[in-house]
């Protein structure tokens, strides 16, 4: 076998060698006479483990990046003690949280209090199923891709409410309710914005949406959908409860919202899910509007990461620049401004498709 060609395929056309390897392993497995689904489950587990490792490493990096970026904007140094340039600061923090006592308040409701971190993390982990990291590098290319993303990430609301009620603390309850109201309010403009892209691509499948943007960067959907991109970033930023929309965890009034009563590893899981959601929103924006993994010269995975981190930087910039908005403005902004614009955007897109 040509080693150079294999390497090229692995980087630029990842789907092909992977499916060849799968076919080879499947053949070998079938000779033993055992049922085929055991091998499938094994491969699916391997994919899940790889993605879990990716989430952990990515969260470590993205938290460090956010702290350094905030420091840059505020003209200070940021973490610089643990390891070179403070690179191991997040690792040290994780170890610290692992060693902390896990406190279960006497008044908390055991079932809902414990269920919340599981639901919230499962909601963000499930979305990774349809994120196209590269050419053919996608865990499960479901044909309802985008609808599945909206459905699974909507589950997070249940986790938030569960944390709010289960803690049996006033801060948690108010934070949880506010957060749920905010997430459902901003979900509507987000769905309508995504629909405009789906209309252009003519498919919900992620690989089809990326394939529809093949060619030069002029084909990327941020050109016909520049309004959609802005709407998606605003609504997505509000969905993941990050500043300037971080009212549910406004420190000055609600301590830290629905995670007030959590400590130790349960708190770490909320934190991990929050930064994973930041990455996911950026990855979806890159896939829907910036052509996904496509780009010249560099391997698809590198392009995907560059585009995603470009969006991550924009969201961080917004977070550390704008002041937190007031709660009545927050709801009015979604229903009175974003929703009409999203509906208009949808109709104009439909009109232009027919005209052109």
């Amino acid at each position: 076998m040509d080693f150079k060609k294999l390497l090229w395929d692995l980087f630029y056309d990842t789907g092909k060698p992977l499916s060849q390897f799968y076919a080879w392993a499947h053949n070998l497995w079938m000779q033993t006479g055992l049922p085929g689904f055991i091998l499938d489950v094994f491969f699916q587990l391997v994919i899940a483990v790889v993605i879990a490792v990716f989430i952990a490493l990515n969260a470590i990096w993205i938290i460090y990046y956010e702290r350094k970026f905030a420091a840059l904007l505020q003209i200070r140094k940021g973490p610089n003690r643990v390891g070179p340039f403070g690179l191991f600061q997040t690792v040290a923090d994780t170890v610290k949280m692992l060693l902390k006592e896990d406190i279960n308040p006497d008044k908390s409701d055991i079932l809902t209090f414990w269920a919340a971190p599981f639901i919230i993390f499962a909601a963000s982990f499930g979305v990774f199923l349809v994120i196209p990291f590269g050419n053919g590098l996608i865990a499960g290319d479901v044909n309802i891709g985008m609808l599945y993303v909206l459905a699974i990430s909507g589950l997070a609301v249940i986790g938030i409410l569960s944390a709010g009620f289960g803690s049996n603390s006033k801060y948690s309850l108010i934070g949880g309710l506010r957060s749920a109201a905010q997430v459902i309010s901003y979900e509507i403009p987000m769905v309508l914005t995504v629909l405009a892209v789906v209309m252009l691509a003519g498919s919900l499948k992620m690989s089809d949406i990326v394939a529809a943007q093949t060619g030069n960067p002029l084909k990327w959907y941020f050109i016909p959908q520049i309004v959609g991109l802005v709407l998606f970033l605003i609504a997505g930023n509000a969905e993941i409860n990050r500043g300037p929309f971080d009212l549910p965890e406004a420190e000055s009034e609600l301590v830290s919202g629905f995670i007030t009563e959590y400590s130790g590893m349960k708190f770490a899981m909320f934190f991990l899910a929050e930064y994973t959601n930041l990455f996911l929103t950026s990855a979806l924006a890159a896939t829907l509007f910036l052509g996904g993994w496509q780009g010249p010269f560099l391997p698809p995975v590198v392009w995907f990461m560059l585009k995603t981190y470009f969006i991550v930087t924009i969201l961080m910039w917004a977070r550390w620049t704008f002041p937190r908005i007031r709660v009545d403005h927050l709801m009015a902004f979604s229903w009175k401004i974003l929703l009409p614009i999203a509906l208009l955007n949808l109709l104009i897109t439909a009109f232009l498709i027919k005209v052109i």
Binding site: A52, I188, G202, M265
Partner: protein, 117 residues
């Protein structure tokens, strides 16, 4: 096959969180006391229960959400096949459908349901 992966993913995420918490429980100090297990209220003794009455507005927004989420659910199949349909009929139908919903939004706006306080 893809939906099998979804099932494995969801089960694995539960194991991941459960494993993290289990490791935490193995190595953490366990010294609970009454003060520590109290509900947090800025350090002073908590007053009353958290089962308080809360703003009715939350229900109104939840209802609005249901209306528009169902609207989006109806629009998704239309959006997927829109490109392959010929003629202006699908466009006009969607315009009529969305105008009816905008009327509903305008009604809620006029009634003041979109105001927070």
């Amino acid at each position: 096959m893809e939906y099998g992966t979804l099932l494995v993913f969801l089960l694995f995420s539960l194991v991941f969180v459960g494993g993290g918490i289990a490791v935490n429980y193995l190595i953490m100090p366990q010294k609970p006391n009454d003060e520590k297990n109290e509900t947090y209220e800025c350090g002073i003794d908590p007053k009353g229960d958290a089962e308080i009455r809360f703003n009715l507005k939350f229900y109104v927004f939840a209802l609005m959400y249901v209306v528009f989420a169902v609207e989006a659910a109806f629009l998704i199949p239309w959006a997927v096949v829109y490109k392959s349909l010929s003629g202006w009929a699908p466009f006009i139908e969607a315009v009529v459908f969305i105008i009816i919903l905008i009327l509903g939004l305008a009604y809620a706006w006029k009634k003041g349901d979109l105001k927070w306080e």
